[in-house]
Amino acid sequence: MTRKRELFAFGAPSATASRRQALLASAVGLLLLAGGAAASDKKYAPGVTDAEIVMGQTMPYSGPVSFASANGVGDMAFLKMLNEQGGINGRKLKLISLDDGYVPPKALEQTRKLVEQDNVAFIYSSLGTGPISATAKYLTDRKVPHLLFNAGTDKFYSSEFPTLVPYFPRYAFQAEVLTRWILKEKPDAKIVCLYQNDDFGRNFVDGLKRVLGAKAGNVIKEVSFEVRDPSVDSQVISLAETKADIIMVASVPARPVSQAIRKAADLGWKPVFLLMPVTNSVETVLRAGGLENAVGAISAAWMKDPSDPGLQNDPDVKAWNAWMDKYIPGADKRNNSYHFPYLKGWMLKNILERAGNDLSRENLLKVANTMPKMSLPLLLDGITIEGTPELRTMRIIRFNGTTWVPISDPITATQ
């Protein structure tokens, strides 16, 4: 209904349309407007009926980061579980998940298709800085919520994009929590940075220096790498020369982190590795670099890594394993793209439950941004969300050779 109304509204003032046509169009438009008003009494967004809620997303099912498209598979599996349990308030959930190839223009095209042709109620958890950048303004203009998007780039968290609802802690928060640990535990340590040469890497290096403040001079060397570089050995050799105490490695792919851990050990350099939460998995990152070489590494965490060998008796991890075995049998459980959908799936469930029968886009946004204080499956002990679903609280963890162990109380990012 909404879509048609807008088409007529745009068509009416056209210079080529005759006066008669314009009048006719206005009249039809008015009629539709009235129809729209009647529908809105029921407080349903497009795509919502008494029986169903339709949502959409785009995922990089093809292209360079296709490993992350497991997020879409995980989202589907979680909704399937909810539907088998009767759906939410009697409504079944339907997710249309389209391929964007990690190409921003394609993400926009597919998102427009979802909104304008498939009439989805909202976008659920599309993935990646590029695709989300490309669609943020369109969704904001259209007032279509994008709930629990998958990216940590700081600019998406501004009031410029009020329909974007985060759950992933922004990179600035992650950098802040890690840096506060340095300031408290190793204030005089010499620090070097190995960072991915893009917004992600630079966000972390800038965040580190900003929080260090007067101590920013402790960062004595910064070296970048390209995601396509076959090896970062050369960079690590340059950094090892400084004999620094701490090396921060800011990377999205696992390879540079594993290579840095191994090369430092080969060179006989034993710094403390400061690893980003996205690349600290025991199984996919540390094992390749050598578990014995990674002992003492520091990172921040808000959720349990269900593939961590030390957590297999944890009740949350057991529940996650049962869910995986039932809904995505045979999948590689080490891929963290299967971990996030489970966590944010519970957030979505909570939002839709509290929205009740007022499933208008306005109310969905309002409910999503006023979460009660709550803990969720797979969150570390002591970590909760409140207000927006964004996770602001983390704990510092240290690698002991087999598993990550929390070594700090929850730290809440403030800046």
């Binding site: 076959p230 050369s234 080490r334 891929n335």
Partner: protein, 288 residues
Amino acid sequence: MDALLFQITSGITTGFIYASLALALVMIFQSTNHINFAQGEMAMFSTYIAFTLVQAGVPFWIAFPTTLLGAFVMGFVIERFVLRPFADAPVLTIVIVFIGLLVIFNSIAGWIFGYEMQPFPSPFPHSWGTRLVSAHQLGIAVVTLSVLAAVYLFFRFTSLGLAMRAAAQNPVSSRLVGIRVGLLLAVGWGLAAAIGAVAGIMAAPIVFLEPNMMAGIMIYAFAAALLGGINNPAGAVPGGIIVGVLENLAGAYVVGTELKLTTALVMILLVLLIRPAGLFGRTLRTRV
């Protein structure tokens, strides 16, 4: 000073990897005048085969030749059934077929083996290594030089090698003296795929095994092949080593790491502009 030595040895190691893949590129270029853009992905796929065999308990030094044989068959079959129908097609068509192969291999590998990075064990005993040169670095040098020697001996001293050289240089005359040019083209593809598999298996312990592992290496291998002379297999090794060392030194001391990958691209451009035959290539003149 210490760091400089490490930069050079690390550059030589990666240089040998570039050299093996460059050798595979040169093999196909010699017989068909085409650059196979899918060479890196075919190598990656072969490496997964080796990995699967090793995972299944096959000892490495049995899995290695088995994989090379498998790669040979793969290359042979691709030439016969995918490339042959386009034998007389314009160059652009062939390029598109190569890019298609690249995407297909990449996606199939991800689909079958997953996108998670796998550690790949080095087959060389640790005791070989020193602080400056690790066992694997030494092993790569030995293996790459052996492959080069084998290629040389094969072309120089076997009748099949002679026939392949003839088929590449003058297909019409070769056909007239009874050489099956078409079959030998496929054999050439098979050999290139096997050499690529060596490159993949040697690279995997360093870059780790994942479907995109060869993407960066392919750019450097291309630079190495051009620098060494795209029509001279022996040039691939010095080409690879020069690219590997220059890349490290330029990144660490001259242009900075931001332009490390760009260095390879600039090298490609410079060679094409100044000396298209490369350092060790033959300059071809076509008489009309």
